[in-house]
């Protein structure tokens, strides 16, 4: 497993590093990763289907007891198959789809990193590892959507997707931490076997995890980012936004559902409602699109809704149908996305109002697309049909209302599937500026890669027994039982078949009478125009967030230097002063040692007092210097030549700097009495505290003074007799290193702040 991840990492980094040289090989090198996953999955298929579990534990930081656990059961293996099959086909397709170049090679590398992240996500057994890979898919998805970075639309869409899924991911991290903490283990397998007992925190944890899954899998009301993500080049849309990444949320709810159902009682209801609403909203929106790719995107939203509820609800029979449908969906949707890319590639448009006559000019593409579309519409003899039958059968057990709701979404699916097929390949359109009549059917990967996936759908539709053992085992390992559902090419005359045929007939009617659909969508569209759309609410909430940030930062960061200093000083007083809330310890007032000390003390005190009453800034600087030089003198008298020297020099430097700055400041201080009063108050408080605090701390010696050690060791250890210096450069050299770093950074910061101001003044000046 580690080897698989390494293959992804190495090929991705190699392709990115050699992006100028790999040319058309970029995607073929990248395909090694998914291909290796596929090979590995096939090699493990026998054992894992029989119930074995592949485990690998890698010691990461043994001293911190950090280990990386991998655990692949049949449920995870099914997802690995999806990544491997769809990934291999899409990478080979992409090698033909793009014109080679450095930027495309970077794209290929990013997509390979994504594939690796997806492999890690489904195979790790650690909650935090899961989060790590989860976020890696978010980041790579952001980069892939924003591939056309010169287009504002692509950048906005990439940001939208990253913000929604990123925020969901953060929520999920919070939830995972809460759950892991409550369960006493961060291993996914432990949480599933020993679900945390219900409590307020656990409820919150499940809620947050659900939020993460809902955003990732584009469920209502967060589905807005997925159609926007279609700004990505088609291979990324096919791989990330239909086959794999959007299934991460479904993977998670499916994995944790057995625990969630035990832990909290609202889980099933929440998953059902979210799934149903998403399913209907997505199907409805898909009917109204003119862009083939957007139509597929909304279709994906709809399908994801169905998968979300089937897999996330925690009922074995539904889980079985859901997993079958998931595999079917990966096959037909990835292949349809690729065909849309092929059509776009050959005819130059994806607008079904312009496309015309493709059936005749691209017959092979047409018939292969038919194979995929029929699977999407669940026409008998396709894998989609077999899977949907299994789902309907499970839903029937729960109640007619459930299956009726699913059938409603299915009708919409059939309707947009028909619209897709007629729109792309029909020739009855007489619209303006037709395109595609002279397009040629490609004879390379643009045809074979999606054709392979579509053909797999047909084969599995006729022989569903080929995949049934895997689905069965996956159902069992995800908390269900073996043999929960049936997966057959023809179910016989059962009630579920009636629902399938009903969906097909009603959907076909909608395709037959497009006028009725248009009228209905127009009417509902008028009504829906009043409702907030997902995209609009996202934009509004981002705008609201920005304006909130603006307002709060202008309140906190108001730019008033006196206010900042006052806050810093008051915090510096009140925080340590809270140590004295049990009473102030007694302390002795210092005694005056000599006349010289007295004179210097008077100089300092006199300067300080005069400083308060002075009105002119220049005089204030001089008086401040008096305080400083007085201190330097006091140090010298008390036997600290080093301190004295440093104080003297710092004071000189400060005054000189003041001289430079004074030119920019008003000559006098503020005349407002309230402002002066406030400042006096703060100054008096800080002064009194520092004075008293200094005396108290000097009087309360708890342990032997550290200075003795320094005095003893200075010559033998540090090789110097100036203790102050040996402390600075030897004993406490680490502190000094930090201080000079601060000094350097502060200088650069000050220069960066001051230079633009003086420069702009110079430009405005005469």
């Amino acid at each position: 497993m580690v080897l698989l991840l390494l293959i992804h990492a190495v090929t991705a980094l190699a392709v990115i590093a050699l992006r100028r040289f790999v040319g058309s090989w970029a995607f073929l090198i990248g395909a090694l990763g998914p291909l290796a996953v596929l090979v590995w999955a096939v090699s493990q298929l026998g054992d894992i289907t029989e119930g074995a579990i592949y485990r690998q534990t890698v010691q990461w930081v043994p001293s911190l007891d950090l280990v990386v656990d991998f655990r692949v059961d049949a449920y995870a293996l099914l997802f690995l198959f999806v990544v491997g099959v769809a990934g291999t086909a899409i990478f080979i397709y992409a090698a033909r789809y793009f014109k080679p170049g450095p930027k495309v090679a970077t794209f290929a590398g990013t997509m390979t990193i994504f594939a690796g992240a997806m492999v890690g996500l489904v195979s790790t057994d650690h909650l935090l590892g899961l989060f790590l890979f989860w976020e890696l898919t978010t980041i790579t998805s952001y980069l892939l959507i924003g591939f056309d970075d010169h287009k504002p639309r692509a950048r906005t869409a990439a940001l939208h997707a990253a913000l929604v899924t990123g925020a969901g991911g953060l929520a999920m991290l919070g939830g995972l931490v809460v759950l892991g903490d409550a369960a006493g283990s961060f291993l996914v397998s432990d949480i599933v076997t020993n679900p945390p007992a219900a409590s307020g925190a656990v409820t919150l944890g499940w809620l947050l995890v659900l939020l993460g899954a809902v955003t990732k899998s584009a469920q209502f009301p967060f589905h807005g980012w997925l159609p926007g993500a279609m700004a990505a080049p088609t291979p990324a849309s096919a791989f990330l936004h239909s086959a794999t990444m959007v299934k991460a949320g479904i993977f998670l709810v499916g994995r944790l559902a057995p625990a969630a159902v035990v832990s909290v009682d609202w889980w099933q209801g929440a998953v059902l409602i979210i799934g149903f609403v998403t399913m209907v909203v997505g199907g409805w929106r898909a009917l109204r699109q003119h862009d083939l790719k957007l139509m597929l995107a909304f279709g994906t939203v709809s399908q994801l809704g169905l998968l979300f509820l089937l897999i996330g609800v925690g009922i074995p029979k539904l889980l079985f149908g859901g997993l079958a449908l998931l595999a079917a969906h990966a096959l037909f949707k990835a292949s349809l996305f690729m065909f849309v890319g092929t059509i776009d590639h050959e005819s130059g448009t994806r607008d079904l109002r312009r496309l015309s006559g493709l059936r005749r000019s691209m017959p092979l593409v047409f018939w292969s697309t038919v194979a995929a579309v029929t699977s999407m519409a669940a026409v008998p003899l396709t894998f989609g049909f077999a899977a949907k039958e299994a789902a309907f059968d499970g839903l029937l057990d729960e109640g007619v209302a459930f299956v009726a709701a699913a059938a409603a979404a299915s009708i919409l699916t059939v309707a947009y599937a028909g619209r897709f097929l007629l729109g792309a390949f029909g020739s009855h359109h007489t619209g303006h500026d037709p395109a595609g009549t002279d397009a040629r059917s490609p004879r390379d990967a643009l045809l074979w890669a999606p054709l392979a996936l579509a053909a797999a759908g047909v084969v599995l539709g006729v022989f569903p027994g080929l995949i049934r053992p895997l689905i069965d085992a996956a159902t069992e390992t995800a908390g269900g039982v073996r043999g929960a559902g049936k997966l057959v090419w023809w179910p016989g005359l059962v009630p579920a078949l009636a629902w399938s045929l009903l969906s097909l007939t009603a959907g076909a009617l909608l395709v037959w009478r497009p006028g009725a659909v248009d009228r209905a969508t127009a009417a509902v569209g008028k009504l829906a125009a009043r409702l907030p759309t997902a995209d609009g609410s996202f934009r509004r909430s981002v705008a609201g967030l920005v304006s909130f940030a603006d307002r709060s930062s202008s309140l906190i960061q108001n730019g008033s230097l006196p206010a900042y200093i006052a806050i810093v000083l008051l915090v510096a007083v009140f925080l340590p002063a809270s140590a004295f809330r049990d009473g102030i310890p007694s302390f002795e007032l210092p005694r005056v040692g000599s006349e010289l000390e007295l004179i210097l003390g008077l100089l300092i005190a006199g300067s300080a007092i005069a400083l308060v009453f002075i009105r002119r800034r220049f005089a204030a600087v001089i008086l401040l210097g008096g305080v400083g030089y007085g201190m330097a003198g006091l140090y010298a008298v008390l036997g600290g030549p080093d301190l004295s020297l440093t104080q003297l020099l710092v004071e000189t430097l400060t005054i000189a700097l003041f001289a430079f700055v004074l030119r920019y400041l008003p000559a006098g201080f503020t005349r407002s009495m309230t402002a002066r009063g406030l400042r006096l108050g703060v100054a008096a408080l800080v002064g009194a505290f520092v004075f008293a605090g200094g005396l108290i701390t000097a009087g309360t010696q708890l342990g032997p003074p550290v200075s003795d050690l320094y005095l003893d060791q200075s010559v033998p250890v540090a090789g110097g007799s100036n203790v102050v210096n040996t402390i600075l450069v030897d004993f406490r050299a680490f502190d000094t290193l930090g201080e000079i770093t601060v000094l350097a950074v502060a200088t650069l910061g000050a220069a960066a702040l001051v230079l633009p101001i003086t420069r702009s003044r110079r430009e405005e000046g005469p």
């Binding site: 710092v650 540090a718 102050v724 210096n725 000094l743 200088t747």
Partner: protein, 149 residues
């Protein structure tokens, strides 16, 4: 519209910068055993820079210290950090210091402390700070002095 108060004073200050810089180096090297050290030495050099600036403006400063302040800051930090990591190669602790005593004919015994290199880093950062602040805050000064000339 700054006019230098007195040409004699200005010349005198410029003449004094040399000895002052030498004094700052003395403080730096003497610092391990006598009052001084990299911080104090750097401050003396920094004050010298300010004096030179007020006497002759940026050109004089550039003549005395012909490098950018950021180069001094960077060099200082690099030296100090390298002295920190250097002992690790010898299996010692981060920033651990050692010293060797050598005799040089005519001059006498000399004790070389590895911490001196660290102190040189401190010196350079403090000097770089003074230089950087003077150059930033005195920016307008530059322009005026050119106008008055």
């Amino acid at each position: 519209m700054t006019q230098y108060p007195s040409a004699i004073l200005a010349r005198g200050i410029v003449a004094a910068t040399g000895p002052l810089l030498v004094f700052s180096l003395f403080l730096l090297f003497a610092g391990h055993n006598q009052p001084g050290g990299g911080f104090a030495g750097g401050l003396v050099a920094g004050v010298t820079v300010m004096l030179a600036w007020s006497a002759g403006g940026p050109d004089t400063v550039r003549r005395i210290i012909p490098v950018r302040s950021s180069a001094l800051l960077g060099a200082g930090l690099v030296i100090a950090t390298v002295t920190g990591f250097w002992p690790l190669l010898a299996g010692l602790e981060f920033l651990e210091s050692g010293y060797v005593e050598i005799s040089i004919p005519l001059i006498g015994d000399l004790k070389l402390v590895s911490a001196l290199a660290f102190d040189i880093g401190v010196y350079l950062v403090v000097l770089g700070m003074s230089l950087g602040l003077v150059r930033a805050l005195g920016e307008e000064h530059t322009d005026n002095s050119e106008v008055t000339r």
